[in-house]
């Protein structure tokens, strides 16, 4: 028996794996060429008629592409045609939604590139005045300050946020309603109020502005985001898993800790990311808590400390050409910092296995 099976396996020519549901190379190339031709045509029209710049080009391109598709699909059946047009509409909508983000990013990159030099990452503003050449001074102190405050805020908030998520979904104790209400109203607190709160408590108590005060203010702002995201994520864990754990004789806290939380590790990473994203650009609360500084401060309780938002804010107020250039570079670095942070957390957090 086994011999015939192997014989069969040897004689059958194994076909190459195919994906007939995908569009072929030729079709893709065709679309690309049509798009290219449309783009060239649109560019010509814009040049000849003098329609307004990029917007005009986009609009013309869209119109031409629609017309070309209309012609191209004229002999196809109605359903396929409809499909093609809906595809264009969805693509255009996506581009439209993406456009503002693109234009912000592009302008920050273009304007920030001027001061984007190595010294920007290591230098500080102790002996440099904002008007000096861009190869003098830098924002190293602000980068370190921002990172330190955001990381400390995350260290404070993440356990609290996850715990309240666990309380709301797993424990469901008597205070569920109250906790949910507090978390929800906290998410409506204006950031300046969070700053004022820490100012009147922590800053007053320690009698000094500090990185720690900044972290606390950011933590107040982060907590509702993290807690609510954690709650939503934990709600997605199927009850089957909890049952299975209880049926094995596990107690509630062990079930939460060893079964439920590990199942949503990447979701909790998302909660942390959203929290960081919420606060990393906050300026107002920091003006009341960490203030700002021109030099490196590493001690979270060692007086006022620099941060990228306050760095940008301060330079914009000075308003001279190089100060503004520095501010743009600060904004660019802030964006890159967020990007880098998100990439690494995604990497560490891994993917859910659900």
């Amino acid at each position: 028996m086994s011999a015939t099976v192997t014989d069969l396996q040897q004689t059958i020519a194994i076909p190459a794996p195919t994906t007939p549901w995908r569009r072929t190379r030729g079709e893709q190339l065709g679309t690309a060429i049509i798009f290219l031709i449309s783009a060239v045509a649109a560019a010509c029209i814009v040049l000849v008629t003098g329609l307004a710049g990029v917007d005009g080009f986009g609009l013309t391109l869209f119109v031409i592409f629609v017309v070309v598709t209309f012609v191209r699909t004229i002999r196809m059946n109605a359903k396929v045609r409809k499909d093609e047009f809906i595809k264009i509409a969805i693509f255009a909508a996506a581009v439209l939604a993406f456009l503002p983000w693109m234009s912000i990013f592009a302008s920050v990159v273009m304007k920030g590139a001027r001061g984007f030099k190595p010294n920007f990452f290591v230098g500080d503003m102790r002996t440099t005045i904002p008007d000096d050449e861009l190869n003098l001074g830098g924002a190293g102190h602000a980068i370190i300050g921002s990172m330190m405050m955001v990381i400390n805020a995350t260290i404070i908030t993440l356990p609290l946020g996850i715990l309240s998520g666990v309380y709301l979904t797993e424990v469901r104790g008597r205070l569920t309603f109250l906790v949910r209400f507090v978390v929800q109203s906290m998410s409506g607190v204006p950031s300046i109020v969070a700053g004022l709160f820490i100012y009147t408590t922590f800053v007053d108590f320690t009698n000094s502005f500090s990185g720690m005060a900044g972290s606390l203010a950011l933590a107040v702002l982060m907590l509702p985001t993290v807690a609510r995201t954690a709650e939503e994520v934990l709600k997605l864990v199927p009850d089957d898993l909890r049952s299975a754990s209880y049926a094995l004789g596990a107690r509630q806290w062990r079930t939460s800790l060893m079964v439920v939380l590990p199942t949503v590790r990447s979701g909790l990473t998302t909660a942390a990311i959203l929290g960081v994203a919420r606060v990393i650009g906050e300026t107002a609360p920091l003006l009341l808590t960490s203030l700002s500084s021109n030099s490196y401060v590493f001690n979270p309780l060692g007086g006022p400390i620099g941060s990228l938002p306050t760095y940008v804010f301060g330079l914009l107020q000075i308003g001279t050409e190089n100060a503004i250039n520095r501010a743009w570079t600060g904004a660019l670095v802030l964006m890159l910092l967020v990007l880098a942070l998100f990439t690494t957390t995604r990497f560490i957090g891994g993917k859910d296995r659900r």
Partner: protein
Amino acid sequence: MEMLKQGEIKMTQDSQTNVMVMEDDEVQRSAFRGLEAKNLHAWFGTHHVLSDVSLRFPERTVTGLIGPSGCGKSTFIRLLNRMHEFIPGAAMAGQVLQNGEDIYAPEVDAAAVRLKIGMVFQKPNPFPAMNIRENVLSGIKLAHLKVTDHDSIVENCLTRAGLWKEVKDRLNTTGGSLSGGQQQRLCIARSLAVEPSVLLMDEPCSALDPGSTLRIEETIKELAEKIAVVIVTHNMQQAARVSDFCAFFLTDGGPGYLVEAAPTKILFTNPSDSRTADYVQGKFG
């Protein structure tokens, strides 16, 4: 009714063998060894779904629970290891005694009860954040048991669940990467690892192929050399193959109730209730 008699015979035997251990406890001495449901009722909210079920599950036996869909079999076995109480609005009446002790007594620790009375669910539910090996050992970790030889437990439990050969080379992949039937066998292995003294199985084989089903049935028989096994099944042949006793549940639109419990042979060949005869012969349900 035959079944109750059998249980009673067992009881006297057991109480003789256990006299030495339990000498000073009058109640314990006369206690029935195994699991016993006394006049159990169950509600979901105001919906009365199970009425007055009394049934004994002696040690070293397999009891099959059969009956049409919705007659309360799952509810009944979930009452036996205190899983019923996790459903919001659930309520119960009556007693469940393990070796004479009420598992619903106020001083009893529900988690300890569930550790002793294990459960396999109808739908496979391996832990997605753990790999195969960790899944098998999860009960030990979750209940904080002291065990030294993890590797042999993993191999032993997976073998008994009929899964060892298929997964021995990929113990570190996640449980979710297995097929549905393999996942179910993994769940069975998982519940074997904590060595329960009663194992409740709610249609454990409904997702399995005939080969694995047979392997599981062998495991059930093996287990019954030491412990009590309760298995809910819609498969009459399976009930006939594995169980020593069989209990037939029914509902007439109202709460489910126990029609008849008897040694399996009698229930299948010469039941005392005509409805049982109709059901086991496939005339309704």
